[in-house]
């Protein structure tokens, strides 16, 4: 018999049409009721699902509806007395790429109890995973909550913000006072400042930055870091063989004068 089922997208639509994501559990229940009903009506074997079926199916279903849950949502699900017994938590964590360990659970619990709503919104918006924040466990609860609150209003990208948090955490562990930085809006400038404090000796001391080469007007050179390698990105634009010849001569000259300290 040809399968007759409502597509995942349509079901997801049912859920999202019902309201916003803030009442996720309500929507999930609604979705499950409707989904269960549709399956029964169409005698579909889609997902071979029925209410109360294998736990992993519930996780699968949840994931179909909400592929991007953050860890605060996950904690809401596993701490909900009705849903919790139905969900295979190991499957759930695996599905959402969260390592199922005590430290992660600890952070989840703490987020509910101690973190500000601004922090929780920031985590949700930036799709921060609990494993991204494990290094903060080296701080006291209050220090951690305060640092996270500071970053929550920052315009920094996710990776910049996490880098800021890690260096800030290191400095707090080194007993350095960074309140002057964290009490103000954390910006690109704050990131540079905190890096200078964290690595005063290595900061801006890469040998390539001390190269004294003249690239002329046709060639642009920029110092860049790509992971563990730093280097010069060299770009040029030519329209003729003569121009190319000139650039090659310039590159040759700079290669000969390349003296890295």
């Amino acid at each position: 018999m040809e399968k007759s089922f409502i597509s995942k997208e349509a079901l997801t639509g049912i859920v999202y049409l019902s309201g916003n994501k803030s009442s996720i559990l309500e929507h999930f229940n609604l979705a499950i009721n409707r989904f269960g009903f549709c399956i029964h009506k169409d005698q579909s074997e889609y997902l071979n699902f029925s209410i109360g079926a294998e736990f992993s199916k519930w996780v699968e279903l949840l994931f179909n509806f909400f592929p991007c849950l953050d860890f605060l949502d996950i904690y809401e699900i596993i701490s909900n007395p009705t849903l919790s017994p139905l969900i295979n938590k190991e499957e759930l964590f695996k599905k959402y790429h969260i390592p199922p360990n005590e430290k992660v659970l600890y952070l989840m619990r703490e987020s509910k109890l101690h973190w500000t709503s601004e922090t929780l919104n920031w985590i949700s918006e930036k799709k921060i995973r609990p494993q991204d924040l494990l290094f903060l466990l080296n701080l006291q609860i209050k220090e951690r909550a305060s640092l996270l609150h500071s970053i929550s209003s920052s315009p920094l990208s996710k990776s910049q913000a996490l880098q800021f948090l890690e260096w800030a955490c290191d400095l707090i562990m080194l007993k350095m006072d960074i309140s002057e930085i964290t009490e103000n809006l954390i910006t690109d400038a704050s990131l540079i400042k905190i890096k200078e404090l964290r690595y005063p000796k290595s900061f801006l001391q890469h040998p390539l930055q001390k190269l004294n080469l003249n690239w002329g007007s046709k060639v642009q050179s920029q110092f860049l870091r790509k992971q563990d390698r730093a280097g010069l990105q060299i770009q040029f634009f030519v329209s003729s063989s003569d121009e190319l010849q000139n650039v090659i001569q310039l590159l040759q000259k700079n290669q000969n004068e390349w003296r890295c300290p």
Partner: protein, 394 residues
């Protein structure tokens, strides 16, 4: 041979020995029972550690270093070194490993086991006969190929050897297959228990070594620099080839002075002919390990203090220029003394090889065999050990 338990270090290191009931008749269990007082021994079931869930906390990790579980290993003992699985990004030396236990009673700040192990206790495997059977089957199939096998991947090869005496089981097997090489890699000075089996030209005793200052600061509970050198001299005198691994090279304020001292001490005590293998590697670790390292060793530790960058291999490393500078410094100091020192870089990229030592491993006469491709072992690629995803829910 001296009774190893008279060694006070061993007495203080192990708080307790848990013996899996299934291994009670094994040579290892019987030996431990005969050596230790009753209150140090507890007989347990095979699933003794099953209640442990998830990654190890600081306290659990430290407990795991002081307690030994003697059990049988259920998977394949004989495997390729993990470096071989990253051939797209690093240049690997075709190393094979025979894991006869896991975890280590030493406590190095940078140890990769901090992000690798999930089991909450140090293990020694009682079924070494099965390991030897696996090994022998490969040896008989490829007796003329230059396989190199090490026992120090997830446990120090010799730190517990006065207790386990695994060295005495393995050496005679390698004596039968002279093209195969066995390497004991250690930070201990425990060599007395097998010296009477020498000379053994295909059994390399190797030391992971660092300058005294780094050993003092980062390699806790290990043998001191002079103790390692003395043990190496003993092995040399009994006809065991040696290897040194200056790995991990750790950047610190006076690194040049300290690594110069290390190189000079080796040159003073050994000739290039004594040292079969010399490898260099700089500090590297999995990013997720940073948190535990900081928790366990604080911010004073050099490994937590240096600026590290995520590399192509997914590990944190020093800046590439910094690595090259350190490699070149050590490499040149050896080569200035004699061009005969055989030095290679461990787990490094082809670019670093080219820049640091101006060559590729296949172009160095003494190294060709290390990097020559060898036939795959039968179960290669299969998930062979008992390492599970850590979980707190099942």
């Amino acid at each position: 041979m001296t009774n190893p338990v008279t060694n006070p270090v061993l007495n203080t290191v192990l708080d307790k020995i848990y013996i899996d009931r299934e291994t009670l008749d094994s040579r290892l269990s019987q030996r431990l029972i005969s050596l230790y007082p009753n209150d140090k021994i507890e007989i347990v079931t095979s699933d003794f550690t099953k209640d442990h869930k998830g990654n190890l906390s600081k306290d659990q990790f430290e407990w795991s270093k002081k307690n030994l579980f003697v059990t049988n290993f259920k998977g394949y003992f004989f495997k390729r070194c993990p470096g071989a699985t990253q051939k797209k990004t690093i240049t690997c030396c075709n190393y094979y490993v025979l894991n006869l236990g896991s975890q280590c009673n030493f406590n190095c700040s940078y140890c990769y086991l901090q992000s690798y192990l999930n089991t909450p206790i140090m293990k020694a495997y009682a079924n070494i006969d099965k390991a030897i059977e696996e090994l022998r089957s490969m040896m008989e199939e490829f007796p003329k190929l230059p396989y190199r096998v090490g026992t120090g991947e997830v446990i120090d090869s010799l730190s517990l050897d006065p207790l386990t005496l695994f060295s005495r089981d393995l050496i005679p097997v390698f004596n039968e297959f002279p093209h195969w090489t066995l390497e004991f890699k250690t930070k201990s000075d425990n060599v007395d228990q097998f010296l009477d089996l020498g000379p053994c030209p295909n059994v390399i005793v190797s030391w992971s070594i660092n300058p005294p200052h780094i050993i003092e600061k980062e390699e806790h509970s290990t043998a001191r620099f002079s103790e390692r050198i003395s043990a190496a001299i003993k092995c040399k005198n009994k006809g065991f080839p040696l290897a040194f691994h200056i790995d991990p090279i750790i950047w610190h304020e006076n690194w040049q002075e300290n690594y110069a001292f290390l190189v000079d001490e080796i040159i003073k005590n050994f000739t290039p002919e004594d040292i079969k293998v010399f490898s260099l590697g700089t500090l590297r670790f999995q990013p997720e390990q940073r948190y535990l390292m900081k928790e366990r060793f604080g911010m004073d530790s050099y490994v937590n203090n240096s600026e590290m960058f995520l590399s192509d291999t997914g590990k944190m490393r020093y800046d590439w220029h910094q690595r090259n500078e350190m490699f070149q410094f050590i490499y040149k100091r050896f080569k200035n003394h004699s061009p005969n020192w055989n030095i290679f870089l461990c787990m490094e990229t082809p670019e670093t090889w080219a820049t640091s030592v101006n060559s590729s491993p296949m172009s160095v006469t003494g190294l060709k065999d290390f990097f020559r491709p060898l036939p795959k072992i039968k179960h290669e690629g299969e998930d062979s050990d008992e390492k599970n995803e850590p979980t707190i829910f099942n």
